[in-house]
Symmetry: C2
DNA sequence: ATGAAAGCGCTAACAT
DNA sequence: ATGTTAGCGCTTTCAT
């Protein structure tokens, strides 16, 4: 593959001139420039990225470290981030941490080694994995969950408020014993949704018993078991707030097995909208999160940090909104 | 950030010794090695990726160019590819081409510039974008759709057979006028599914009229319109084969609006399984594609090419399988 | 406006 | 077994 020297030789100029014409920093004599362009085209020249990166001490690559792209919520974030990055000339490296601090650390190491320009991170937990990043001065912006130390930029959604509104809505619809299935303790979004649920309960003067709460992984299988345990106990809930979309699948499976109809028998509100939620009978009431926007906003923020913006750390909180459909009403 | 010379100085050895201990190519005196490791740790040394890449003339990065990660089929491919790549020490750069040849070309350019080790590509169309890749000797493996020139490695699924079986199944269930909603002409998977549908029709001696076929983008909106046009015409179909999951959403929306119940009124089989297909009433009969496996197989193949394996081009065809549920039977 | 040359940080001959 | 040294291909002073 042709190098800059090949192009220079062919055009009868120095490598410096080639570099200048191709990068357009300084002005170059039009005649020479034309020769350079022609030579480059003839040779099919493509600048060597690694060489340029080494010389410039910077790369146009960012890492996106999320728990799992197969979760539609993160998929949308990924898409948003990639769109913004791409149009700014950056590439994004996809990293699935599975909420495993060790994997997270591995990916952070890679980002550091490759001198990536920045990282978009949905932190797996309280661990101090991020510290090396910060120490190296690599810009980081947290998505969905804040950085453990809580300093630094973050793009979050107010899921506590979303949960509160959802719970209040359920109460308003006449449900009396509202339960909640949320994620693991320590995962901020899980805890926030639970907190919002409790706030909603208090505001609506409904009973707030731990017997109505279950935790599991943010996955269908765990939620399915949790729903079963909740719905078959004495004094079972007559409504459920479910903390994410994958969990909803499990919960609805259990309900089908128990022949409990959403809405009529057990009111249901779930986090995250999805195309298929309207196809169910009854259609699902959801708390929709602006996932794609989180991706774009986070990427924009990261890019501005990369380009040296030095204002103080910001945390942008987008709002979730309740989309009322029929799974949260009795008829 | 510390360089290899800093480490060498601190350990009182040459940079070559540092490089050797850290990469473990040749054996190094244990005493020296210990000093090197200590020095590296104290300085928080991390090898400079771009420098190493430049020197070695290779990178541990592959590009994954797909039409859209938000499509769950591609999401699963992405996840599979990333898992394999990661455990082999490679990173994957996510590229959404939106089936747009121009974007595809941009991403291929980036891959070339950055001297990525290989590319996993789901080609957007017939265009000759791939040619530069091939010319540069960059390993490429096609996923889901073969490379336009049809040479080269590919990991596909036999969606023609899947479509044929699905159609035959529908016929067996007693449906008479079986229709098909597929993707744009020229997109191989769309054409193959249509071909399989026709084969199935012929095998079952059912009428095979173009009036029962519609094409649209592989998206919900287009499919929704297509379904409407199909189902409201004279001699409307009494069953439908739908070529992907996103389209299924549109089709089912139309059916709901027209108060047509899947199975009883119009038999339905759709491509791609998804967690929610069992939650519908009736549960959807699907042609399940092994998307995650396609990702892993393709990545493995790519990695073997990268490491210099020079056997002839292979095309691996995985099979789709029909999962019969209730949307394809009358009762 | 252009060229010569240094050097980014690393690995791999080559020499010892 | 270890050190010396030459580059990988590029950008960017520094001269001219």
């Amino acid at each position: 593959m042709a190098t800059i020297s090949d192009v220079a030789a062919r055009a009868g100029v120095s490598t410096a001139t080639v570099s200048r014409t191709l990068n357009g920093k300084t002005t170059v004599d039009p005649a020479l420039a034309a020769r350079v362009l022609a030579a480059a085209a003839e040779l099919g020249y493509r600048p060597n990225g690694p060489a340029r990166n080494l010389r410039k001490q910077e790369t146009a690559v960012i890492a996106l470290i999320i728990s799992d792209v197969e979760n539609p919520f993160f998929t949308a974030i990924a898409r948003g981030a990639e769109d913004v990055a791409h149009s700014a000339g950056y590439s994004v490296v996809l990293c699935n941490s599975d909420d495993n601090p060790d994997k997270e650390r591995e990916y952070i190491d890679v980002a550091l080694q490759e001198r990536m320009a920045g990282v978009l991170l949905s932190p797996s937990g309280r661990s101090a994995n991020v510290e090396p990043l910060l120490r190296s001065g690599t810009p980081v912006v947290a998505v969905d969950r804040p950085l453990p130390g809580s300093a630094g930029d973050a793009v979050l959604v107010d899921s506590r408020l979303g949960a509160k509104q959802a719970t209040a809505h359920l109460a308003e619809q006449g449900y009396q014993r509202i339960g909640c299935i949320t994620g693991p303790s320590g995962v901020l979004t899980a805890d926030e949704r639970l907190a919002g649920y409790r706030e909603g309960l208090r505001a609506a003067k409904r009973s707030t018993s731990n017997a109505l709460v279950r935790r599991s992984e943010f996955k269908a299988a765990g939620a399915k078991r949790a729903a079963y345990s909740l719905l078959t106990q004495a004094n079972a809930p007559d409504a459920l707030l479910v903390a994410n979309n994958a969990m909803a699948v499990g919960v609805l499976e259990t309900m089908a097995e128990l022949e409990l109809r959403p809405g009529r028998d057990v009111g249901v509100v779930v986090f995250d909208d999805a195309p298929w939620t309207t196809l169910l009978d009854p259609p699902l009431t959801v708390v929709a999160q602006p996932a794609y926007d989180m991706g774009t906003v986070a990427a924009q923020l990261l890019l501005s940090r990369i380009s040296g913006e030095r204002t103080e750390a910001t945390t942008t909180t987008l709002s979730a909104h309740l989309v009322v459909r029929q799974s949260s009403s009795r008829n």
